[in-house]
C-alpha cells in the first residue's frame, strides 16, 4: 500500500466530515473559478470590441469610465487621418438600448462607406447602402434571438429599420447586436458628429505599437487600444472586476482555510493516541507532518476538481439565459482553473499548518498514555 493511498484511506475514516469539508471548499473554489471565467469572458468580449472589424487597433478618449462612454469628435478623427501610416479610420458610435427582449442590445453606428474596411462578413443579404437611413444589418446571434430575416423591420427607439444583411464576425458582442448607419445612431442618440471609438487600419509594414505610442504622445487626450492591457485607459470596469475577483479569492482562501483547520484539528485531536503509536513504531516527526499536510492537501485537491466542474456547469447554465448569452460567451482558459487549484493548495496549507505542527509536537509517551 502506498503512503498516498494510506493518506487517502485516513480521509475515508470520517466520510461525512470529509464530505462536508470538501463540499464547503468546493463552493469557495466554484465561486472563484466561475467568477474568473466571467471576468475572462468580459475581457475577451472587450478585446473583441477593440480589435473589431479587423482593425489593427482602436482609439478612444483617454480617462473614460467605460469604453462605451468614450467620445471622439470629427477633429479627433481628422487628426488620426493625418498620420502617414494610417490607411483608414472608421468612426463607430456605440449605443445600448432595449431591442426585442434584450435590454442590452448593442448598436454600432458606422458610415456605410467605411464598411469596405470594417469587416463584417455577410452570411446573407448585403451591406448598408451608401446614404441609407433606415437600413440595419443584424449579427447572426441577434437575428436568431429576434427571429428576424432579410426584409423584416426592427424597432429601435421607436424607429423602424429594414434588415438588409446578416453578418457573422465571430465576436459575441458584435454578433449579438446590429450595425446601423452612423448618421441614424448619431441622430437618435443626440450625438451629432461624435463617435465612440475610431478603428484604425494601418498600411502594411507599420509598427503598430510604435504608431500607437506616438499617437498617445502627440495627443494626450486620446488613448490607443492595441491590446487588453490598454483597456484600463478608457474603462475602469475591468479593473473593478479584477479587484472584486482578487478580493473574493482572498476571502475564499481564508474561509476555506478555517474550514480545513477545523477539520484537521479535530482529526489530529481524536487521533492523538494513534500519533503516539506511530511515533513509537519509529515514524519521524517529518512523516507525521507529511501525513497531516497530505490529508489536507488531498482534501483540497478533491475540492478543487469538484469545484471546477461545478463552476463549468454553473457558467453553462447561466448562458442558457438569452440576455446573458447575447453579450458573453464563457471562456474557459487554463489560468482560471489554475487559480482554483492555487486556492485549493493555499487553503490546505493555511488550514493544515497549525494541526500538523500540533501533531508533530506531541510527546510520543504522552500520546500513548492519552485515552
Amino acid at each position: 500500500m502506498s503512503f498516498t493511498f494510506f493518506i487517502f484511506s485516513n480521509l475515508l475514516r470520517q466520510k461525512v466530515r470529509t464530505g462536508l469539508t470538501v463540499l464547503g471548499i468546493s463552493i469557495g473554489i466554484t465561486t472563484v473559478v466561475a467568477l474568473g471565467i466571467f471576468v475572462n469572458s468580459a475581457k475577451a468580449a472587450t478585446e473583441e470590441l477593440i480589435l473589431a472589424g479587423g482593425a489593427d487597433f482602436a482609439v478612444g478618449r483617454a480617462g473614460s469610465a467605460d469604453l462605451t462612454f468614450s467620445t471622439l469628435t470629427a477633429d479627433d478623427l481628422a487628426a488620426l487621418r493625418e498620420y502617414d501610416e494610417v490607411e483608414h479610420v472608421s468612426g463607430v458610435l456605440m449605443a445600448i438600448s432595449k431591442v426585442g427582449s434584450n435590454p442590452y442590445f448593442f448598436q454600432f453606428g458606422i458610415d456605410p462607406n467605411d464598411l469596405d474596411f470594417f469587416e463584417a462578413p455577410l452570411v446573407e443579404g448585403e451591406t448598408l447602402a451608401a446614404g441609407a437611413e433606415n437600413q440595419i444589418m443584424l449579427g447572426d446571434g441577434a437575428a436568431g434571438q429576434l427571429g428576424a430575416e432579410i426584409g423584416d423591420t426592427v424597432e429601435i427607439r421607436d424607429l423602424s429599420f429594414v434588415v438588409v444583411g446578416i453578418y457573422d464576425t465571430g465576436a459575441t458582442t458584435f454578433d449579438g447586436g446590429a450595425i446601423l448607419p452612423l448618421a441614424a445612431v448619431q441622430d437618435y442618440e443626440r450625438k451629432q458628429g461624435l463617435v465612440t471609438l475610431a478603428y484604425i487600419h494601418t498600411r502594411s509594414g507599420t509598427e503598430v505599437q510604435a504608431l500607437a505610442d506616438r499617437i498617445e504622445e502627440e495627443h494626450p487626450n486620446l488613448a490607443t487600444l492595441v491590446d487588453l492591457a490598454d483597456v484600463g485607459d478608457v474603462d475602469q470596469g475591468l479593473q473593478i472586476l479584477d479587484a472584486v475577483n482578487l478580493g473574493i479569492t482572498i476571502l475564499a482562501v481564508f474561509i476555506g482555510g478555517i474550514a480545513v483547520m477545523n477539520t484537521m484539528v479535530m482529526a489530529v485531536f481524536e487521533r492523538t493516541r494513534e500519533f503516539g503509536i506511530l511515533r513509537a513504531l519509529g515514524w519521524r516527526t517529518r512523516r507525521i507532518l507529511q501525513m497531516v499536510l497530505g490529508e489536507a492537501l488531498l482534501l483540497c485537491l478533491i475540492a478543487a476538481v469538484f469545484g471546477s466542474i461545478l463552476a463549468v456547469a454553473l457558467t453553462q447554465m447561466i448562458v442558457l439565459f438569452p440576455t446573458v448569452s447575447a453579450f458573453i460567451t464563457p471562456h474557459y482558459t487554463l489560468d482560471v482553473f489554475l487559480r482554483g487549484l492555487a486556492v485549493g493548495i493555499s487553503v490546505a496549507l493555511l488550514g493544515a499548518i497549525y494541526p500538523a505542527y500540533r501533531a508533530a509536537r506531541l510527546s510520543p509517551a504522552q500520546a500513548i498514555r492519552y485515552e
Binding site: 500500500m1 502506498s2 503512503f3 494510506f6 484511506s9 485516513n10 475515508l12 475514516r13 493516541r273 494513534e274 503509536i277 506511530l278 511515533r279 513509537a280 513504531l281 519509529g282 515514524w283 519521524r284 516527526t285 512523516r287 510527546s363 510520543p364 509517551a365 500513548i368 498514555r369
Partner: protein
C-alpha cells in the same frame, strides 16, 4: 560502550519524575537484559513498569541516569526515530491497530520508514502474518478480527523491521485467558525462532512465570536490586 557485549539492555540509575518531581515514576532503576533473554517485569500498578519500557524505547527521556542498548547510549543517538524503527518492537495492552487498514496494511505502517518497495513491504507483511498464524487474514480489518487475532497482528507489527528487542506492555491484559495463552505462545515462539530479546510487563503470574527471569518492581525501583530479587530459571 558497555563492557559486556552480551548485555543488550543496560539501564543504570535511571530517574524519571513527573509533576515537577512530585511523582518519582523511576527512582534509580538498575536493570540489565542479555541477548536473547526473555525477562518479565511484574509489580503493583503505578510502580513504573510502563515508564521503564518507554524509557528503553526512547519515548521518554530520563531525568538522570543512562540507558545503553546494544552498547550505545540511547539518549546520545542522533536519530531516535531510526532507533525506534529498527532496534525496538513495541507491543501494547491494546492492539492499537489502525482501524482503516487491513492486517497486512497495518504491518506495513512501520516499514514506511525503511526503503522497502511497496511490493517488498507487502511480501514482508505476508511473511509476518504467517509467522503469527494469520496467513489467511491479510485482507481483514481490525473490526473483522477477534481480540486475540488483533493482538497477534500487533505482535507481528512489532517484528516488522526485524528489531533485536521486543518490549511488550501487558500484551495479554485485554484478552481472556485462552486468547491470552494463544497470543503468548505465538510471542514466545517467534522470540525463540527469531532469537530476539523480550522484555514483557505482566500482572499474570502464569505468564510471568514463562519467562527466563522475572523482575519485581516497587515504587519506581527494581525490588531489592536486580540480581538478588530476580529468580533465574535459565
Amino acid at each position: 560502550m558497555s563492557e559486556q557485549p552480551d548485555t543488550v539492555i543496560d539501564v543504570r540509575n535511571v530517574v524519571k519524575t513527573y509533576d515537577e518531581g512530585r511523582t518519582r515514576a523511576l527512582d534509580g532503576v538498575n536493570f540489565q537484559v542479555e541477548r536473547g533473554e526473555f525477562v518479565s517485569i511484574t509489580g503493583p500498578s503505578g510502580c513504573g513498569k510502563s515508564t521503564l519500557l518507554h524509557a528503553i524505547a526512547a519515548l521518554e527521556r530520563p531525568d538522570s541516569g543512562t540507558i545503553y542498548v546494544n552498547g550505545d547510549e540511547i539518549t546520545s543517538q542522533r536519530d531516535l526515530s531510526r532507533y525506534r524503527a529498527r532496534s525496538i518492537g513495541l507491543i501494547f495492552q491494546l492492539h492499537n491497530l489502525l482501524p482503516n487498514l487491513t492486517a497486512s496494511e497495518n504491518l506495513q505502517v512501520p516499514m514506511y520508514e525503511t526503503d522497502l518497495s511497496a511490493s517488498a513491504r507487502r511480501r514482508r507483511a505476508e511473511e509476518l502474518l504467517a509467522l503469527v498464524d494469520l496467513g489467511d487474514k491479510a485482507g481483514k480489518r481490525p473490526t473483522q478480527l477477534s481480540g486475540g487475532e488483533r493482538q497477534r497482528v500487533a505482535i507481528a507489527r512489532a517484528l516488522a523491521n526485524d528489531p533485536g528487542i521486543i518490549l511488550a506492555d501487558e500484551p495479554t491484559g485485554n484478552l481472556d485467558s485462552k486468547a491470552g495463552q494463544q497470543a503468548m505462545a505465538v510471542l514466545r515462539n517467534v522470540q525463540r525462532q527469531q532469537a530476539v530479546t523480550l522484555v514483557l510487563v505482566s500482572h499474570n503470574r502464569q505468564i510471568a512465570a514463562a519467562a527466563d527471569r522475572t523482575v519485581y518492581m516497587l515504587d519506581g525501583k527494581i525490588a531489592e536490586g536486580d540480581a538478588a530479587a530476580s529468580e533465574r530459571r535459565a
